[in-house]
Symmetry: C2
Subunit: 322 residues, 2 copies
């Protein structure tokens, strides 16, 4: 069974009114045919947008996914884990080098530690399956040694770089995150929700020890995965509003937003902030987010941790970069 | 119409033998029903693996996608572009901050330049639609100024960081690449192929000027997109073999491969290298890949370019990192 997104956005009462109570919500398990049961009324929906009519299951999955932080208390089936990993392995990879490793974690003790080291998020410990995605060029540098590449370079007047550089690092990071998203999307299509944890980039030394990582592998992303809880399967997804597309996507050239454009971009989010309604005494959304995110201690820890990880990757040459 | 992957992997002749010639290849346009036309014989397929029976359209799309470098000479429809961008915008984003920007390029002059600056790949100039994905925290730092965050910090005994740091950078990179992959997958499901170009990370100064990027936005990934050429729609996808899963995915802890495991990992790829059959005079696959990738001039340029971009992002503080 595959989860589809109705897309029409009718409320339950509207569904009842139209006699379509077999389509009981915006997100449900069903077949492509039952998903289409709303099509005839879709233009009447308050959520109607043109592309609803052209959705396929892939688009529906991409557009309806949101982070899941509460999971059914049930291990993932071996079959589902295998499908997710196989889908991940087919992610595009620069030069087909696969510059990433994945640590799949089910041991409770490890999840307990990660729930503390990743900015104290208890739900991590309750996720049935946790995948840590590490940018990894260790295998290749080990293989280069095995293949006598240093001697080959000496014989052919090439420079042998003892350590990876920033190019390797960002290409590996790209491979890693692209693969992670394939895993997240594959899981979602199987009724398995997920949540990214960027905080795996904090506490590098602890995670390095915990996961046994070598110098040229460091964790960039983590996914917590689990089946949707039974009581949530029929719920509409709580999709958090995104910024307007015109603030994110530009034609031909970047457009730097001016003050009035920034105010328009953040207008909806500003509504949630009232002086005195937040523990940071922020007077506006910019101050709130700076206090909660950009200026928060965990971001400084992430910076420190990434510095330490990059030192390893670059062979202690970070400080000598121009 | 949506492209499905038959998955059974029967050759044309086998299909003919079984009388299923309506299913003429491994990749074809059709409905979920016609995709299922192979199910009854799937266990007889030389490519049979268990999960073929549980594939849905999402899994099929993820597992059958490969890079497309030759496109139908036809602009993408506005509707398709809109679906791809909307699917991208729903990608998970840390704190819902959307730390990325996308420059959508159709102007031939710009594509011509990119085809040269991105390691001389002429097919880039022929892609109908090119998306450049930039990690971007410029909007947020501009908004922080607009929101009097420096004064707020002074009043509340917080440090105001004038520039983003490595934490912001890698969180932004994560947002960026995850969003890019949503775009690639959405496109694929609509019959629109794509190819990532990591070389957009080279020549930072040129790309910064060309795309009008501010200090806190820099390009990490590029996707070339276009419809599949008519003569390729019915072709099986040329899926390049990946490394064995056991070399990439580890349970509970990282496993550093030893010499014999590395030799097994690379055994298939070693077969393509014969002394004298390559312009690099490499005697094995490790030497070949070092010469072609890790030790190649474009990787050194990428390193240099990323250093310059990181200098901007960090406010010229790269050299002072410990």
């Amino acid at each position: 069974m595959v989860r589809f997104y109705c897309g029409a956005g009718f409320s339950d009462s509207l569904h009842t009114q139209t006699g379509r109570d077999q389509c009981c919500g915006r997100k449900f398990y069903g077949t492509m045919e039952s998903w289409q049961c709303c099509q005839h009324d879709v233009t009447q929906s308050p959520f109607y947008v043109k592309e609803v009519l052209t959705l396929n299951q892939v688009i529906a999955t991409l557009q309806s996914r949101c982070s899941l932080r509460r999971y059914k208390d049930m291990a993932l089936s071996d079959e589902h884990k295998d499908i997710i990993l196989k889908s991940m392995m087919r992610a595009p990879s620069a030069g087909n080098m696969m510059l990433y490793s994945v640590i799949a974690i089910e041991r409770q003790e490890t999840k307990d530690i990660l729930s503390r080291t990743c900015d104290n998020q208890p739900f991590i410990a309750k996720a049935p399956w946790v995948l840590v995605f590490a940018a990894d060029i260790q295998r290749w540098f080990d293989y280069y040694q095995l293949c006598d590449v240093p001697q080959y370079c000496a014989d052919h007047n090439l420079t042998y770089h003892q350590n990876p550089n920033l190019g390797d690092l960002f290409i590996a990071a790209s491979d890693t995150l692209i693969a992670a998203q394939n895993a997240a999307i594959a899981a979602e299509s199987l009724g398995i929700g997920s949540c990214y944890i960027g905080d795996i980039m904090e506490n590098y030394e602890t995670h390095r020890e915990l996961l046994g990582l070598p110098d040229y592998a460091f964790p960039l992303a983590m996914l917590c995965l689990g089946y949707y809880p039974d009581d949530q399967k029929l719920e509409p997804p709580l999709l958090r509003p995104r910024f307007d597309q015109q603030c994110i996507v530009f034609n031909e050239k970047y457009h730097r937003l001016d003050a009035s454009e920034l105010q328009a971009m953040f207008a909806e989010r500003e509504k949630i902030v009232q002086p005195g309604n937040n523990p940071f005494q922020a007077k506006n959304f910019g101050q709130l987010m700076y206090a909660r995110k950009t200026g928060a201690p965990f971001f400084q820890e992430m910076h420190r941790s990434l510095q330490a990880a990059m030192q390893r990757w670059l062979g202690n040459k970070l400080s000598s970069l121009e």
